[in-house]
Amino acid sequence: MTPPTILRAMGALGLAGLVMMASAASAADGPGSLARRLRRPVALAIVDGGKTVLAANGKSGSLSIVDADNRRVVAECDIGRGLSDLVALPDGRHLLAVDRIAGELLLVEYRDRSVRVAGRVAVAPDPVRVVAIEGGSMAVVASTWSRRLTFVRLKPRAPEGAGLELMIAGSLDLPFSPREMAAFDGGAPVVVADAFGGRLAVVDPYRRALESLRTLPAHNIRGMVFSPDGRTLLVAHQVLSRLARTTFDDVHWGQLIRNHLRVLRVESLLKPGPDAALLDGGRLFDLGDVGYAAGDPGAIAISRRGEVIVALEGMDEIALSAGVGEGAHRIVVGRRPSAVAISPDGVLAYVADSLDNTISVVVMATGQRPSTIALGPRPELTSADRGERLFSSARLSHDGWMSCQSCHTDGHTNGLACDTLGDGSYGAPKQVPSLLGVATTGPWTWTASMARLDDQVRKSILTTMRGTKPSDDQVADLTAYLAALEPPSPGLAKAIPDAITRGRGVFTARKCASCHEPPTYTTPRKYDVGLADEAGNREFNPPSLRAVGRRDAFLHDGRARSLRDVFAAEHHPRGLELSPREIDDLVAFLESL
């Protein structure tokens, strides 16, 4: 099995020539005419044997084409509305790009520093990642909010030499929101990780079936690659302890939240067994340490020599080490490094500074950062833009252990419980709430203790993240960013419309709206619903039910592990008894919100 690297191997599968499809080919702009806009580079691909670097931009939907030797942008091509991933195919002439906003997979032709969209196909909404397997003849796309994998075949067109076309081969629904994927170069199986929590699935892309689903003791899995020898899987993730508290001590000594690089043995991954068996033969390494933590580990890249780079999104740094588990050298790059690609000769590493509109270039041997490649001019940042930078910055916390993102992943929730001072005391851990749509659902915290969102922001920074007191401007910016967060659009549910209608009927008949009132599906008061926490609190503010189908643990302490359990096992509220049919329908309705 050829070891895969982040730059898809230059295999020798001769695919047919270029296809002249009538697609939206847009003219390449010359460097002098680069537009003033936010780009957000989130994925990198290296082509031309290392001479050219392509960056996929999440905000502008463009591909930036960079001359690696001169370290300048030579062209920028708008190909979509907002790109989230980019992968070079083994033939060296095609790439796959994912347009998250449009919900499409794009086939891009590359030649001589210019690109052309050769094909588009609609995939499941909110696609985030793509992997190419089987020498580039099949692609798997992970769509986060729709919890679905889409399988796309890349077939040569007839007549021979007429190029490739994209064809949907099928899909697979997953019981979690997928994001990162890793594939063996040969093809099967594909490993798919949870976007928020710790679920890890092994999927057969040919049978389009789930081979196994287990849970890692992890959350925020943001980097996942196979080692060059294919025997281990490296996973970058965080760990949040439910037993620790957000006291200064527990944060300081790394008890509350930690940042890790985990090594899993592929053998343990592929062998069926319980969750704990996943860890057999593996190792867990700490990233960062007391006094200098490594908040939000993300993309991983491994060179052929075994050197490892882990992007530390919250620290604006990368950690570079000579081998897995060896001491890491921390190198400052740009803001929120979200992708790393190592040149084929192993000399340089390119880092996409997603919030800076730049690519940092690092010399592997020395760890020096020789230059930054600007992808284009940037406009003035708005308050919400600045808030976003703060939201993802671990420097807001003591020693850099965590950022807001660490618990409120992408503005949502990591699905875990945390013992904060949100309820006024320690000893009663509570589910991390989702912040999507948070601005319209005051008062805040499970016990409705905060009347102002900006006060809650300040309290979180001081008493959860144990950071220094933020300025009023910072608090205002963060609040502006939160106000801009919207829940994912409804309608990604899969239930039949009849069930949803019946479920709405149950919702009305049982007066759920008295606490969960549309359109936000919450009310500003606290209610006793027959639940109590360890501190004796009995009244809770109802969380908004928008996007409730995208959460994985319910009620204040997460005791219900599925929406079904909320009614079938916990009989929420106050001992409510529903028939199994009613529960099915109600769940279908809730999942449609």
Binding site: L243, D249, W253, Q255, D286, E534
Partner: protein, 532 residues
């Protein structure tokens, strides 16, 4: 680790007896018990808001203590303590008066009524206030102390192994004043070469004469990175000298290996052919779980595959280490019930998070008769979950009190705990340990340190007889692999013939005693390593 409130142990106040007798203003002679005092010195008036503070403290105890006494009982003890401090006899009928109190207004009236009007020695209002608080808390089981917000912060720093200061221990000398009793090496004072028994004559320009130990400590403390100027006179110095020191945060190492090859460089592998590591926990503080994690990584890199975890020397716990013990237990268990905690609000069961250190390694835990408190609980938890084999002698059971005038934890347990869940029907008894936290009194600034919870293991071994030399109190941990009964004789100061042993002989026997533990543990681990 020890109360923070450093009270003036030596009474620096000399009894000044007034030469003339001043009749106590407003004193009701018929209410005084026994003889009137020979001399009467006027007493400062009751401080403003005093009753509110007393009420707030008793409120805090009632709300948070795991098994609080009755409020009126606390008030009565407090008033008695007040009179003791004043050095005058308490009036008759106090019990009746206190029993009638239900509101804070009534409390205020009572306190004004019983506030002593005369004393046998000059007193400051603060001293009386402190005396009353001390009495108030005397009946709170496990011991409780009032502290200022600043002292509370320092206590938390110490429990969290982030102590900020000069890294010295102080004592108060009757003649010389505050003396640096011990200088910790590596700290700011140690690096400055200050000798033990150096007298502190002035702090930041102000003389220390007349200051209580507590006041001296207060002035020496400050934020990390700030400086303090001291006027010192060493034991061998002819004259005083001025020195400036910077306050630092120093973390003690709380886990060591088997042998310190170089300062700070501990050998983690036991001598012998087997890949067995050894760690001794010397203190359970906020940093201990972190240290264990780092050492686990190192031991894995060394290729070790089994662990001896020595808990024998953990005997000083007043309850501050309960949280660290819970986190440690969690880090060693990858599944199962860690234990329960009872608080004023009820009982919570802790489950272990998935993932653990030393996965797949057999573990032997060493305990001895002095192992107590949270360490005892930790051993019980590991034993209950079959995660470790316990080797050694039966533990103390019930925790150890470090204040002779406060109830031992044993009393908490015998008295029973409110809202207790019924114990399981089987004969195993749980091992218990106190959890002490610092709670804000009202909205501050005072804080109160007291036992707010009791950790319970899932169910220890039954109340056993222990061994003849080490009787178990019935609530301790019984080792799976006890030392031979004759082991305890090695600690005796007389030999088998009755002759008194020399110091060298005793030292050799002590080493032999220690080796017994290690050998038993290695035997257990060797066997476990051999089985696939």
């Amino acid at each position: 680790m020890g109360g923070v409130m450093m009270r003036c142990a030596a009474n620096a106040l000399l009894g000044l007896f007034a030469l003339c007798v001043v009749p106590a203003a407003g004193a009701d002679d018929t209410s005084m018990k026994g003889r009137t005092s020979v001399a009467s010195i006027s007493v400062p008036a009751m401080p403003a808001g005093f009753a509110r503070r007393v009420q707030a403290i008793t409120d805090a105890v009632l709300e948070h203590h795991v098994d609080p006494p009755v409020r009126q009982q606390m008030v009565l003890s407090g008033i008695k303590s007040l009179y003791r401090a004043a050095g005058v006899a308490e009036p008759l009928g106090l019990g009746r008066k206190v029993s009638a109190i239900t509101t804070v207004e009534q409390l205020d009236g009572l306190l004004r009524d019983v506030w002593p009007r005369a004393a046998s020695r000059p007193l400051r209002a603060q001293t009386l206030e402190e005396a009353l608080f001390e009495g108030l808390l005397a009946d709170v089981s496990g011991g409780a102390e009032v502290m200022t917000a600043r002292e509370a912060r320092v206590a938390e720093q110490m429990a969290g192994n982030r102590y900020v200061g000069l890294q010295i221990a102080l004592r108060m000398d009757e003649k010389a004043g505050p003396v640096m009793a011990e200088i910790f090496p590596g700290g700011p004072a140690g690096r400055a070469g200050i000798a033990a028994d150096t007298v502190i004559e002035a702090i930041d320009g102000t003389s220390t004469r007349g200051l209580s130990l507590r006041e001296v400590v207060d002035r020496l403390r400050g934020d990390e990175g700030t400086e303090v100027t001291l006027l010192l006179r060493g034991p061998k110095d002819a004259a005083s000298r001025t020195i400036r020191l910077r306050r630092e945060a120093l973390a003690r190492t709380t886990i060591t290996g088997i042998r310190e090859n170089k300062p700070g460089d501990w050998q983690l592998r036991l001598d012998g052919p087997e890949p067995i590591g050894y760690l001794r926990i010397t203190e359970l503080t906020g940093s201990t779980p972190h240290e264990l994690r780092r050492l686990a990584g190192r031991m894995e890199s060394l290729g070790l595959r089994a662990l001896v975890l020595d808990l024998r020397y953990l005997s000083q716990d007043r309850g501050e280490s309960a949280h660290s013990a819970v986190l440690l237990a969690d880090s060693l268990l990858e599944r199962g019930t860690i234990g329960r905690i009872r608080t004023a609000k009820g009982v919570t069961t802790y489950q272990a998070d998935a993932d653990a250190l030393f996965r797949g390694w057999p573990i032997a835990v060493l305990v001895d008769t002095v192992t107590s408190g949270s360490a005892e609980w930790l051993a019980a938890v590991l034993q209950d979950n079959h995660r470790a084999v316990v080797v050694g002698r039966p533990t103390r059971g019930g925790g150890k009190a470090t204040r002779s005038d406060s109830a031992s934890l044993g009393r908490i347990l015998r008295r029973g705990v409110p809202n207790a869940a019924p114990r399981q029907a089987d004969s195993r008894t749980a091992v218990e340990a106190a959890m002490r936290t610092i709670v804000l009194v009202g909205d501050g600034p005072m804080a109160l340190s007291m036992v707010t919870g009791i950790l319970e293991s899932g169910g220890g071994r039954g109340p056993g007889a222990g061994t003849a030399n080490a009787p178990s109190s019935g609530r301790g941990v019984l080792p799976d692999r006890p030392l031979p009964a004759s082991a305890g004789q090695l600690l005796s100061s007389t030999g088998p013939s009755g002759r008194r042993l020399t110091r060298d002989e005793m030292k050799a026997r002590s080493i032999e005693f220690n080796t017994l533990f290690i050998n038993e543990a290695v035997a257990v681990l060797r066997k476990a390593l051999q089985t696939p």
